[in-house]
């Protein structure tokens, strides 16, 4: 068994409404896994349960074999469970260099040190430089993030998550809102993520899902409707009627 992230019978109820209904899910080590489902299927609730924004009504979340159900958001990040956001969440007044350095310094456990110098940590400097180079941000690293084009900001969103050294990376609609011209570079970035990072992609865009994922889980009405290889999912009649609809025929 090589599941790095796993949920068992995960239930979340809001009042009388069951948003996620006994979801048992597993993300394999090094996976390129997509989570799809129509609006209101419970994807957002599920991600919030994984990352610790919400606590489940019942059920368990496991990361690397350890129970993390009750851990705080930042504790999960420190264990390597990192996410990006559907809407950019950036340190807008910083430069990309500063933002990557801020995330890296936190990951290195330097964040509480109030008397040391940022440039004194050689590890912080080299890791920040590595990430700026890997995500091709070095040409804009000294500009203020708020002034950068949307596509670049989207790259920074992913780069910042990567700077937290995830073992599991949750990408929440990474290409959402990115203009066609900048889309390719962004998808290349996603495709170029190292193999040892397990990726869970939450996505609406079927082109991206089928291009990127080697495994797909379909959520409908808070339940797992189907789970398997992309071609099996594409052929699954239940998925076609419940979700893909005319898109599958189109």
């Amino acid at each position: 068994m090589s599941a790095v992230l796993e949920t068992r019978a995960l239930v979340k109820q809001f009042g009388g409404i069951t948003a996620t209904d006994r979801i048992s899910f597993s993300l394999e080590r090094g996976a390129r896994h997509a989570l799809i489902g129509p609006n209101g299927a419970g994807k957002t609730t599920f991600v919030n349960l994984l990352t610790g924004v919400l606590r489940p009504t019942s059920g368990v979340v496991m990361l690397g074999g350890a129970d993390i159900t009750t851990l705080s958001r930042e504790a999960r990040v420190r264990l390597g469970l990192v996410r990006t956001f559907q809407i950019n969440q950036l340190f807008a007044t910083m430069t990309p260099l500063e933002m990557i350095a801020a995330v890296t310094s936190e990951r290195l456990g330097l964040g509480a040190s109030s008397f040391s110098r940022l440039d004194a940590s050689a590890t912080l400097v080299t890791e920040t430089a590595d990430i700026l180079a890997r995500f091709r941000l070095d040409d804009i690293m000294d500009e203020t993030i708020a002034t950068l084009p949307y596509g670049k900001q989207r790259q920074i969103e992913i780069a910042a998550a990567f700077a937290a050294k995830p073992s599991v990376l949750l990408l929440d609609e990474p290409a959402a809102g990115v203009p066609e011209a900048e889309r390719r570079e962004l998808l290349d970035t996603v495709a170029a993520l190292p193999a040892d990072v397990s990726v869970l992609l939450i996505e609406h865009d079927m082109d991206i899902v089928f291009r990127f994922a080697t495994r797909i889980t379909v959520l409908v009405n808070g339940q797992v409707l189907a789970d398997g290889a992309p071609d099996a999912i594409a052929r699954d009649p239940a998925v076609r009627t419940a979700y893909l609809g005319e898109a599958a025929h189109g």
């Binding site: 930042e74 807008a92 007044t93 260099l97 500063e98 109030s114 430089a129 700077a163």
Partner: protein
């Protein structure tokens, strides 16, 4: 193989230089402090006013730490000024007249009050923070009023006699020792603050200020960091309060009054938050404005301050701060870059 390595090491060099650049002392900063010392010799009759400015500057620096660097708004910062003032005053009255002891106790007492009240500002938005801090400020004022057997109530703490600074320098009528003492404390605490805001901790505060959601998603323990800087800021305000009590040798309920909290906010808005010098420049502008206006209209000076505030916030601020930034950018461009 060597080409990307070379590029990477050049990049690392640039990253290191960029991280260093923000904390490097600028010539204009040195000039500022030299000017503050020179002022004592140039205007020997204005030392008492300059002492007030230095204390207000320290108070505003304290607010800048939470407002400019962590995004915590406060309308009750006088609570910490008052705590420091009363603590230092009580130390001088009942324990020992050594100024540095009183300063230390004042900072510790205010820091403790900051730590204890910090959970109140962790939650909620700007409006709830404004209300909560305002409430704490009012509580402290009424508490000091009610506990008159300790604070002297409406009469204040009277008969404070300060000992010599370092056992040598007596507090004189002209404010020579007072200004040197206040400026010295301001400088030391400023250098400390400067070091802290440019540390990894300071960067994590800016991260929280910019985007709490992303900060948490990057592993930053938001509540701990905010509580830490709130405590630090309270201790700084306590130092300002202690200086006020010691150099005026008097503490009254006025140190806890709402206008103290409002004034210091005004000072920081005039000077600009988030670059440490805002409180210092703002306090100079504010005191001179106050001095100048009350010179020709002693009763109605608040009218003019009010008018100034409205105009300033509506449009003048961008102009003035934009101007300062443009000048700084020019100065920076004049220096030969240190890019590798």
């Amino acid at each position: 193989m060597s080409a990307p390595d070379l590029a990477a090491s050049g990049l690392a060099g640039h990253v290191r230089a960029s991280l260093m650049l923000s904390r490097r002392w600028h010539t204009a900063e040195a000039l500022f402090w030299v000017g503050a010392i020179a002022a004592a010799f140039l205007f020997p009759r204005q030392l008492l006013l300059m002492n007030e400015i230095a204390i207000l500057a320290l108070f505003a620096l304290s607010l800048d730490l939470i407002l400019g660097y962590a995004g915590i708004v406060s309308l009750g910062h006088a609570a910490f000024l008052g705590m420091g003032a009363y603590s230092a005053g009580l130390v001088a009255l009942h324990i020992a007249s050594d100024p540095l002891l009183g300063l230390f106790v004042g900072m510790a007492a205010s820091g403790l009050l900051g730590l204890v009240t910090s959970p109140l500002v962790l939650k909620g938005n700007d409006l709830t923070r404004l209300m909560v801090t305002l409430g704490v400020g009012l509580l402290m004022l009424e508490l000091a009023n009610a506990l008159s057997f300790i604070t002297g109530g409406a009469d204040g703490l009277q008969g404070i006699m300060m000992g010599k600074l370092f056992g040598h320098f007596e507090f004189d009528l002209f404010g020579r020792t007072a200004y040197a003492y206040s400026l010295g404390v301001l400088f030391v605490l400023f250098v400390l603050a400067r070091r802290i805001v440019h540390s990894p901790f300071g960067l994590s505060l800016r991260a929280i200020r910019d985007n709490p959601l992303r900060a948490t998603a990057s592993g930053v323990p938001r509540n701990w960091r905010l509580a830490a800087v709130y405590t630090l800021s309270a201790a700084y305000a306590g130092a300002a309060g202690a200086l006020l009590a010691q150099t005026t040798q008097f503490v009254s309920l006025d140190v806890l009054d709402f206008h103290r909290s409002a004034d210091v906010m005004l000072v920081l808005i005039i000077g600009g938050a988030g670059y440490l010098y805002g409180g210092l420049i703002g306090s100079i502008a504010f005191k001179f404005l106050q001095d100048f206006i009350s010179g020709f209209t002693p009763q109605y000076w608040q009218f003019w301050i009010g008018l100034f505030l409205v105009l300033f916030v509506l449009g003048g601020r961008e102009m003035i701060h934009g101007g300062i930034k443009a000048v700084l950018a020019r100065l920076r461009a004049l220096k030969p870059g240190k890019r590798p």
